[in-house]
Symmetry: C2
Subunit: 154 residues, 2 copies
DNA sequence: CAAGATTGAACCCTCAATCTTA
DNA sequence: TAAGATTGAGGGTTCAATCTTG
């Protein structure tokens, strides 16, 4: 055992591993908030609000079951319920009980339509500006493969 | 203009761009929480607690100025102050006023030493298991370059 | 009972205002 | 005044407990 180290050498990350881990944390923390902040400044929608409203439009044409919404966002039911309560209070959407069976259906309202229409191009431009412009096609492919390996369940 | 699209085609992300953006969000959100959850389950420390304590040890041998700590974490002073208050309450560290000049100095306490000692190998193993094992050397290099482009200021 | 959803408490983060001391 | 830090309010997230309906 080398006297240069005061730690168990097998347990810890190498400098290279540590550097990579920090790069990934930076990507996750900074890039996400940069895009979210641009959307919020332009429209008052948070990044999470944007995710909710865009799924309502893209997956359901403006209306979606709450369970499906939760699944497509990867959110747990409690988080979604709290978030919908806040968005409902801002008149971005409404909840209605499902006529047949249990459950709720979520419908986008006109102010939600307006907000998401403004937010979409802001979102696209911000994602390109903060992230995509730095990724080559090969690097993008690597990222897709990497993401595919993460958490089989989500 | 094509009749197939009901949106302004220049404003929105292509399917490929959208896929990439979702992969990056997944990487940022899932990978971080997976590692944090393992540390928390094993030691009671959150990922943020781990960052604070490991910097105290690695950068200051157990004691660091609050300003330096904030800088090295990339946190704003308010967030750090709130977090230190909680960690101080759990006897993981203590605050002392700087003898000369303004400011505070943060010192790790014995229970903080014990917790971080347990957490380090858990952290290293979790990072490898959830992330690093899926990244080839070339992909890692691409990630480092990408992270280097993000936010010149941090 | 089980699926779907809600609630409340505890914790975390951000912002703006404030406090303290050089 | 300015640097360093604290505080309180408000929104966001998680967990466990609960409600409601088939």
């Amino acid at each position: 055992m080398s006297s240069k180290s005061n730690r168990s050498i097998d347990d810890l990350l190498s400098p290279r591993e540590h550097e990579l881990w920090r790069a990934i944390k930076k990507l996750g923390e900074f890039a996400l908030s940069a895009v979210g902040n641009e959307i919020e400044a332009a429209t008052g929608l948070s990044g999470a609000d944007f995710g909710v409203l865009s799924r309502l439009e893209d997956l359901g044409g403006g209306r979606l079951g709450q369970k499906e919404l939760a699944l497509s966002l990867g959110w747990d039911k409690s988080r979604l319920s709290h978030h919908l309560t806040r968005m409902e209070g801002r008149r971005l959407l409404r909840r209605d009980p499902l006529t047949s069976g249990r459950g709720m259906t979520i419908g986008i309202l006109s102010s939600g339509r307006r907000a998401i229409a403004v937010a979409r191009p802001v979102h696209a431009i911000a994602v390109r500006k903060h992230i995509l412009q730095f990724i080559s096609p090969a690097e993008g492919q690597a990222l897709l493969v990497l993401a595919g390996h993460l958490n089989p369940a989500v």
